[in-house]
Symmetry: C2
């Protein structure tokens, strides 16, 4: 798939996600107004929507029903958004800007940022558990997957490692473990979600998982590279915030060139994992291309 086609695909799919998020987290009156305003501020009007789009796309290529995947896809974006709100807090990464606008704790308050994150996290599980068109078996499977991938053996585990490694020199193995947890786990869940909804076999799910883990790491490496090469306006946050926070990155450990080679190798592994699936996977390959070649 051409990169211009994939840009168009990302845009149209992103709009579908945006509309659904807008419906799921509506404007509400007092005393709920503040919480929903703050949730909508964090959630709407920005972001690549990569995780939900991966879910819709995986569902589609496996001949599943993308309509069934829409709410689960949004659950992933709720989790992703909560994690950014908490990650930006002064006691964590202490970021004042996200996607070019003030972070939730700067716009509202730290207390509201904690609660808004808690709300989005809780609500992700609520919309899965109350999905009207998925059977209970699938709902439990999605919830178990999401909780596992975003919990201690996934995203949260990675964030704890991140806190502990701050200011320390870490090895490439440690960094890989950190990012397999912190970034790749939720991207893997996005792919698994599509597989679950589209009734993938256990073997197919394994291949999808391998694809997800590999492109999840590619995503992180490119993020590290963009953190040092991109400008404030392009990337939407202060330049090289990882350097300011004394964090080890793929770039600080490998240099930009070797980090790019490493990303390319992982990309190749990812594409290889798709080969045995008896479906036209060109849309997923297109998304993998985008993840490798993105400039923001």
């Amino acid at each position: 798939m051409m990169i211009t086609d994939i840009a168009h695909y990302l845009q149209t799919q992103g709009q579908i996600i945006e509309q659904e998020l807008d419906r799921l987290v509506p404007l509400r009156h007092a005393p709920y107004q503040q919480l929903f305003d703050s949730a909508r501020y964090a959630l709407l009007g920005g972001g690549k929507r990569l995780r939900p789009i991966l879910t819709l796309t995986t569902t589609r290529i496996l001949k599943g029903d993308p309509h069934l995947a829409l709410i689960p896809a949004c659950a992933l974006e709720l989790i992703h958004t909560y994690s950014m709100i908490h990650d930006d807090l002064p006691c964590m990464d202490d970021d004042d800007y996200r996607r070019g606008k003030p972070t939730v704790h700067k716009k509202h308050s730290e207390g509201h940022a904690v609660l808004t994150g808690d709300f989005l996290l809780t609500y992700a599980f609520e919309i899965l558990a109350t999905h009207h068109h998925l059977n209970a078996e699938k709902k439990s499977q999605l919830i178990a997957t999401l909780a596992y991938r975003s919990g201690s053996d996934g995203m949260i585990g990675g964030q704890v490692m991140d806190l502990e490694y701050e200011g320390k020199k870490v090895s490439l193995d440690q960094l890989r473990l950190l990012h397999r947890h912190k970034t790749a786990a939720l991207i893997t869940a996005s792919i698994e979600f599509g597989g679950i909804i589209a009734n993938a076999t256990p073997v197919q799910l394994d291949h999808l998982r391998q694809f997800g883990e590999a492109i999840g790491l590619v995503f992180q490496i490119i993020d590290d590279i963009l953190d040092v090469t991109s400008s404030h306006t392009k990337h939407g946050k202060a330049i090289a915030s990882d350097i300011l926070n004394e964090k080890s990155t793929y770039v600080s450990l490998l240099g930009i060139e070797q980090a790019q080679v490493y990303a390319q190798n992982l990309y190749n592994q990812a594409i290889q994992s798709l080969k045995s699936l008896p479906y036209d996977t060109s849309l997923l390959i297109g998304l993998a291309d985008f993840i490798l070649e993105r400039k923001h």
Copy 2:
């Protein structure tokens, strides 16, 4: 049931919960050690375990299997514990002590406190979704109930109101709405959990819900009273922290005596709700007595 019997019952049931929590959140090696240490610090060795005991008891009086209820009961304690960790943060209630020992952010760090709370919240849903002996239908129902009661229309909604009302004079109606959300919602969920697990009919679930909401408010009113009458050592936190935080309470709005009358009326309503259940509800009545008469 005699108050001495109920004390013994609370103790033995509390030990069962403690053991299960210890199993569910075990010691782990690095790089997971810090997160699990911090989770165990907050979770183990303290607390009345009121919410999980309400679940076990409701299951029991409805002739359900308390073994099936054990993990769901612990999920409620995980949620309760996460909410206390986040609530104690400097940007929220800013409490340095909880149950007579330093709060998680004082013992570890603020960043770890945020992540430990996020972990317990996420893990509550994971242990429900992966419960081996409940069918998927019941699991979805428990997860939907827990998410609803601890989300924007439940506990988190109440905490947002709490932040907004700080330093302001609120009406009794506003205070009741706040505490129906902040405190009573999760206590209601504890009762609903028992009903769901023991196959209560929709009408029975409604009566259980009314019982839960009423004793949930009783619990809060007694908490407000104890906050001004109890000493540091008994209550385990600094005296009258609500007054220091300029929070309206039932005591500040009604005075101690009228607050007690109000609690007694709600208690009577709670007991009335149990009357139509075709079961021996004396154990639940005993717990309601404890909630009304407790001294800590």
